[in-house]
Symmetry: C2
Subunit: 594 residues, 2 copies
């Protein structure tokens, strides 16, 4: 039964009060029954808090992104089955009145996908509206991102119809992620309607400074549709992506009513006063309109204080993204512990700090592997950081193994330098195989760009937590992390001398990174312009860098593509990470240097 | 001046004789000036043979596929500049009358790409018609493949208009690659027109048995448009893809008039008698129609005998694909030589045979690295094959290095097994660094699927020639290659005992692959069904495999995704190779086993 004051014929702009819950959860790709149970538990908590509606992230049932799993009929069927189970379970638990908006994958008939260039059998990226134990409506994502890390034209049939459902005396519209970012499509269709609320389901990965862009966008779209907008995003890590949550609700003028924390699970509960609306009569034909038969507005539920979590500062945000990405790769893949080669340098020290923050020091194993070229301070810095952080620590000198290769193979020069790195890699992998740790590679983005690493040497690892972090940011974040410790009266985890000493691979006597690379400030500036901002030689030189340096850095970067192909995965934090975000041929004679 | 008998008003179905050249060339990605010069040289040869028209493959100016290079404004500008240069150079050399149809990349204004979901600044995948020193017409590819290894929605703005140009008294239409494979679009527009010839530019990668599908398709499309169809494809390797050429011309009934060799460069010259046609007046408005001002039909050129090269047999075709892929990766990346660890087993023996056929034995270096668990026959088989093939050979026992690790790390069991493989990997990389060879990884597709390899051990290498070849096919192709040698009175390269002995990694006493894996016939059957035919557990069991074996193989395959991410690139020969052809998350709890 609809509320009496909201008859279908009424055009009065009366108001309803509802309690909306945004479920900022961390699903796991492929764990469909686990994700269903997570939704059920959160729905329970939301209902206990008096919520009338609970909204979950994009594809929460399957996890996101599922890549080619999307195309498997058995996977699509499982997604629909788990969604149906969730609907039944909600009813069974007496939560039938709760309106749940749930992202999932829905199969299509072959015919749907034919003319769109997507493979036969592609599904739709959908939001289901669940009420009284049933899926009462479906919305399919209209705009499919197909740039950067996204390949959604490969996977999904785009939706073509808007969805508005009437509940609690107001008309509520649904959109999914990219629909919010692109003009046209769903948002354009809603602009001229008088909807009462727009709910947007997201699987929007973290990038530096993206949260500000996202906030501005949410404000703009709310004003555009003339209604409050509720933005729910997932959190947690999936391979190279981290979802930062940051769910929020703005009113129809774009003022922030509530905002979830970044990176952490949260149920954001907001009391909304919504204009009763009657878009139904005006919506273009062909769009979905669903009227829920028996929803009642929760006018009697007392208002809760709107929550707005503090934003992390720009460095803290990156640090938290890296901790989350590492934590979830370890947790979701079932590793008990991690192993890190500790050189005494800043990269491995910083990775150790991340690992201790992500997993606790008892799950972090460090090994110092000094060679004859290792400085005394390298050994002491490694031991010092292990002691500061309280992680497990051992020392394995590599001289005996290096000597046995040299005696048998007669390597010299660069081959001898690389050999040392590979003996360390083999040592780490041996300990890993023996004891069951996940090895972490400690290379940073600057090294990865110019190929300043030894493949199968320092590049070994199952995960590379800072592969998308330029060297200058490794320093900045190390200082930041130490300051955090000082501010809370703790021992700074990273030895001061690891931060201040000149970087060196210590593979030959007196070697310094600056022997073969530009100064890191310059290198990172050029790399940012080339990799993230897509500038060419001329444009980068115009920024004030020396043409020879620019030409050299671009050439080194192009030539190292083959090394990056075999590098471990690691968390994306920048606008453009190496990997699926930036796809280039290895065999490539193009130089942007002419 | 048009020919007098072909005035624009004429509807008479007279005939013209023309000589058409299909330039089956091997461009290099990113070498735009080199590719232009290649086109110029081939155009010269075609003109010397009396050709009136020469057609080049898809994106011949840039090479193909160029991945994200397509989105760089400087790359787009260079493509257009080189095309313009080619037009001028043809005129300068007195070849202005020759009609050249050339694939290239053409920039678009930002506006063109906006609503299609492709990034701003995406170009079009175009064919230019060059005549009298000018680009007189452009056709943009309509259907963009976005499945398997293709991501063309990421890169290109689709064309929307057909192109027909009148030359030599007939109307000639253009299509590009996927346009031929999909119904609708360009082909549909041409179906009701009376065109005289359809020329299709291709960058169509090799897959087993694809040439038969392609031939049937070409025949069908010719009949559909009621005109001869000329299909020109590139040849050569680009990273993981091999283009097999196989250019061909069929008449309007689909009968093959001429066909180029597979995998090798060729200029296919065909005399065609074409109906003069006047589709111009009937073509739907909005399509391109270009009339070349002064083309003359080459009625006086004597007919040449149509060529039709023999097809390779099914195994020979795969072998040639693997040789081509390896050869071009080595050649286009400027390596002088390759290095292979020779275990005495079939995989490394077969890779050595491929390398000798691709590069000549003088550019192939083999190293036997026996351990205490290596059988006597392993050592002698490795030496035997080196002697049969005439490649460079040395022996480096790994015991001293293995012992030094064991003494210092105390590894046992699987860790000790993996250690041996990693000492071999480090040894190969050391020799590679010292002497400059490209290391070849010798793993096959069956191993790669189930993770039966040691990461940073036997998996090291810059290229993995047989990573898409199942173990059973390694045997079949080894027998085939030996038989080829016998048939031509040469010494079979692969030792008989490497083919016949039971496979073993020889990492512990008496170890056999069959201790931990199903029989390879069974394993490969299950893998083919799962990986290439996308079947689920139930469907594979229905083929007659034991449910436990199927469940185990699927689980092993799913769990090895992380290893495949760090595996070297290698030539795709199957319908679905691991890598960009099959994109799956590493963090993934989905099992198709329930």
């Amino acid at each position: 039964m609809l509320q009496s004051r909201n008859s279908l014929a009424s055009y009065a702009r009366d108001v309803s009060h509802i309690k909306l819950a945004l479920a900022q959860v961390n699903p796991t790709v492929g764990d469909l029954s686990g994700n269903r149970l997570l939704c059920l538990e959160v729905a329970r908590q939301a209902a206990n808090a008096g919520a009338n509606i609970v909204a979950f992230p994009e594809m929460v049932i399957t996890g996101y992104p599922v890549e080619d799993l999307a195309l498997r009929p058995s996977f699509q069927a499982a997604s629909e089955r788990e969604l149906g189970r969730l609907a039944s379970e909600l009813l069974d638990e007496g939560l039938g009145e709760l309106v749940a908006v749930v992202g999932y994958l829905k199969g299509t008939s072959d015919g749907d996908s034919q003319e769109l260039g997507v493979p036969r059998g592609a599904p739709m990226n959908c939001a289901a509206v669940i009420h009284q134990g049933k899926v009462v409506a479906n919305y399919a994502k209209h705009h499919l991102p197909n740039y950067g890390v996204f390949d959604e034209y490969r996977y999904f049939v785009p939706g073509e119809r808007a969805l508005v459902f009437r509940a609690f005396g107001t008309d509520i519209a649904i959109a999914i992620c990219e629909d919010l970012w692109q003009d046209g499509g769903t948002i354009a269709k809603l602009t001229d309607e008088s909807i009462g609320l727009l709910v947007v389901l997201n699987g929007s990965p973290y990038e530096r400074e993206k949260d500000d862009v996202r906030l501005a966008l949410v404000k703009r779209r709310a004003a555009q549709v003339g209604a409050p907008l509720a933005y729910v995003n997932m959190c947690g890590g999936q391979d190279e992506l981290v979802f930062d949550g940051d769910s929020l609700v703005v009113d129809s003028e774009g003022a922030v009513l509530a905002r979830s924390p970044q990176f952490h699970e949260d149920i954001l509960i907001v009391d909304l006063t919504l204009a009763d609306s009657t878009s139904r009569n005006e919506l273009a034909s062909g769009e979905h309109i669903v009227v829920l038969p028996s929803s009642i507005a929760a006018e009697s539920v007392p208002l809760t204080t709107p929550q707005e979590w503090d934003r992390l500062d720009p460095l803290g945000e990156v640090y938290e993204a890296l901790v989350t990405g590492l934590h979830d790769y370890v947790a979701k893949n079932g590793f008990a512990s991690v192993l890190i080669g500790l050189s005494g340098g800043i990269d491995s020290a910083f990775v150790a700090a991340l690992a201790c923050d992500a997993l606790g020091p008892d799950r972090v194993y460090g090994v110092s592997m000094p060679s004859e070229y290792s400085s005394e301070h390298s050994r002491t810095d490694a031991a010092d950081l292990a002691q500061r952080m309280g992680l497990h620590f051992r020392t394995v000198p590599i001289a005996p193994m290096v000597t046995s290769y040299l005696d048998n193979l007669g390597l010299t020069g660069l081959a001898e330098e690389n050999l040392q790195a590979r003996v360390r890699g083999t040592t780490l992998m041996g300990i890993s195989n023996q004891e069951g740790h996940l090895v972490l590679a400690t290379g940073n983005k600057s090294e990865l760009a110019v190929g300043y690493s030894t493949i199968y040497g320092d590049a070994v690892g199952g995960f590379a937590p800072i592969k998308d972090l330029p060297k200058t940011d490794v320093w900045a974040l190390s200082l930041w992390r130490n300051q955090q410790a000082l501010d809370s009266g703790q021992v700074p985890p990273i030895p001061e001398s690891s931060i201040t000493k000149p970087p060196s691979a210590e593979l030959r006597p007196g070697q310094l990174d600056s022997d073969s690379l530009p100064d890191y400030e310059e290198l990172d500036g050029i790399l940012h312009a080339y990799v993230e901002d897509d500038m060419n030689l001329e444009q980068i030189v115009a920024l004030g860098y020396h043409p020879d340096s620019v030409a050299r850095v671009l050439l080194l970067t192009d030539r190292a593509e083959y090394k990056r192909r075999q590098y471990p995965p690691g968390t994306k934090v920048s606008k453009r990470a190496f990997g699926k975000d930036r796809r280039l041929p290895m065999t490539n004679k193009w130089q942007d240097v002419k």
